[in-house]
Amino acid sequence: MISTKHLEQLIEAAVFSSDKPLSIKKIKDQLLPHYGIATPQIKQALINIEKHYRPRGVNLVEVASGFQFQIKAEHNEDIALLTEEKPQKYSRALLETLALIAYKQPITRSEIEDVRGVAVSSHIIKTLIEREWIKILGYKEVPGRPSMYGTTKEFLDYFSLKSLDQLPDLIPIEESSIVNGTMQDIIPFNIKK
């Protein structure tokens, strides 16, 4: 058997050692196969660890594919002084494409082009696939059988989200900034969100 304290220590060390978020399943099956620990015990240990770290410099955070320790946000600016590598910036074209895939998945390239009104460069799709933010979910049953894209768990992990629900809400079309509302009844709108 293993004491609660030992269990917490072990899980804590495992999360710290992993370079990807660590799932409860992986903790159970790969870290603790010999100890016979039930999932609720693991969950309780994670809760205790999370509480312990709240007042510290790092926090235990749950993202889509599991748990990871993140540097407390308030220290980011100071910590950034230590690293030389500048974070990458992404173009508007890439972000708009990513937004469409995230919110309207599964979506084909030509559907993305319809909304954006411009061609989507292969460069953007390739970059998104290589970053493992999007993947091909299947092929649409229309002539040419185009790929349908969707987002991945890695995409959610990267933005520290647990699920797609946590993406910011889309603005309702009525709140479109360019509507003054003087002649609302001129055109019948039925636009799906």
Binding site: A13, F16, S17, D19, V58, Q68, F69, Q70, I71, A73, N76, I79, E85, P87, Q88, Y90, R92, A93, L95, E96, L98, A99, L100, A102, Y103, V115, R116, G117, V118, A119, D157, Y158, F159, S160, L161, L167, P168, L170, I171, I173, S176, S177, I178, V179, N180, G181, T182, M183, Q184, I186, I187, P188, F189, I191
Partner: protein, 293 residues
């Protein structure tokens, strides 16, 4: 009527034919920064053609440009005044042509759509079938749908994300622990295949760039840089010490070519204090470039 001045500007923009020579007096009524912030420029500010290009390039496409025009003029999108919008849109498209911006076909398609809507609106009311939708409806729907996504993209960009806003906390195994994660194995052939795949895809390089001769010069460039950075940062080392006579004539030539290449790429500095004196070499420092200005 706070918009009067703006309208005048726009009218100038739309009626004036924007030849390159008139650019001096031509005032552009806006600037476009990071795709969003719109700053009024002083009236007399001259925008050089290449800056104009940047401004025009910052539109993500015809829908983006239309959205900008509608916002700019505070038009009510539900009462979309097609005539002035079309005129303004065309003036921007003309501008793009003038600065020889590679004009995406999509901009011209949109121009055609606008012209078509305009002509349909000009038809006398009774000739239009009763149940026919307002010809602007489809365009308005697209504009709104695009705006929703444009805003969503901005929101995603603002989300905290790894590398930029989130740092991961990691701990390592103690140095005494011999376990090492098994790193992936690579065969030399994989490397060659990989490079050939890139080259085949891009065909960006002429093959002779990768011929052996160049390669050894490139390696020598790396060696020299390594040597210089090992020489305690910005200390000079003797030019001669870069050469190894035992390599023979070929080796000396390769080294010399490498030094020339490094000088050309401004990666190193050569200095000769006296005529016929020793030549010294060191890495180029950040400050060096400031000195030159």
């Amino acid at each position: 009527m706070q918009n009067n001045a703006e309208h005048d500007q726009v009218n100038k923009l739309t009626t004036g034919n924007l030849q390159a020579g008139e650019m001096q007096q031509q005032v552009l009524p806006f600037a476009f920064i990071r795709g969003e912030a719109i700053v009024e420029k002083p009236q007399d500010l001259f925008i050089p053609p290449d800056a104009l290009e940047i401004i025009l390039e910052s539109f993500e496409g015809p829908l983006d440009l239309l959205l900008y025009l509608i916002k700019k003029q505070k038009f009510d999108i539900l009462d979309l005044p097609i005539a002035p919008i079309t005129t303004q849109y065309m003036s921007y498209v003309e501008l793009m042509k003038d600065v020889k911006l590679e004009l995406a076909a999509e901009y011209l398609v949109m121009a055609a759509i606008l012209a078509e809507i305009k002509s349909r609106l000009l038809l006398p009311k009774q000739q239009v079938e009763e149940d026919e939708e307002d010809p602007r409806a489809e365009l308005v729907r697209r504009l709104q749908e695009y705006e929703v996504i444009k805003r969503a993209a901005q929101n995603i960009d603002e989300l905290p994300r790894l590398e930029r806003d989130i740092a991961i906390a990691n701990a390592s195994f103690s140095t005494t622990f011999t376990y090492k994660t098994r790193a992936a194995e690579v065969e030399l052939a994989d490397l060659v295949t990989a490079l050939q795949a890139v080259l085949k895809r891009t065909q960006a390089f002429e093959h002779h760039h990768i011929a052996k001769e160049t390669l050894s010069t490139r390696q020598r460039m790396s060696d020299i840089l390594t040597k210089l950075s090992a020489a305690n940062g910005n200390h000079f080392i003797k030019f001669e010490s870069l050469f190894d006579v035992s390599e023979g004539r070929h080796g000396v030539v390769v080294t010399f070519l490498a030094v020339l290449e490094l000088l050309k790429e401004q990666l190193i500095v050569c200095q000769q204090v006296q005529n016929l004196g020793d030549i010294h070499v060191r890495l180029k420092e950040a400050e060096d470039s400031y000195d030159q200005h």
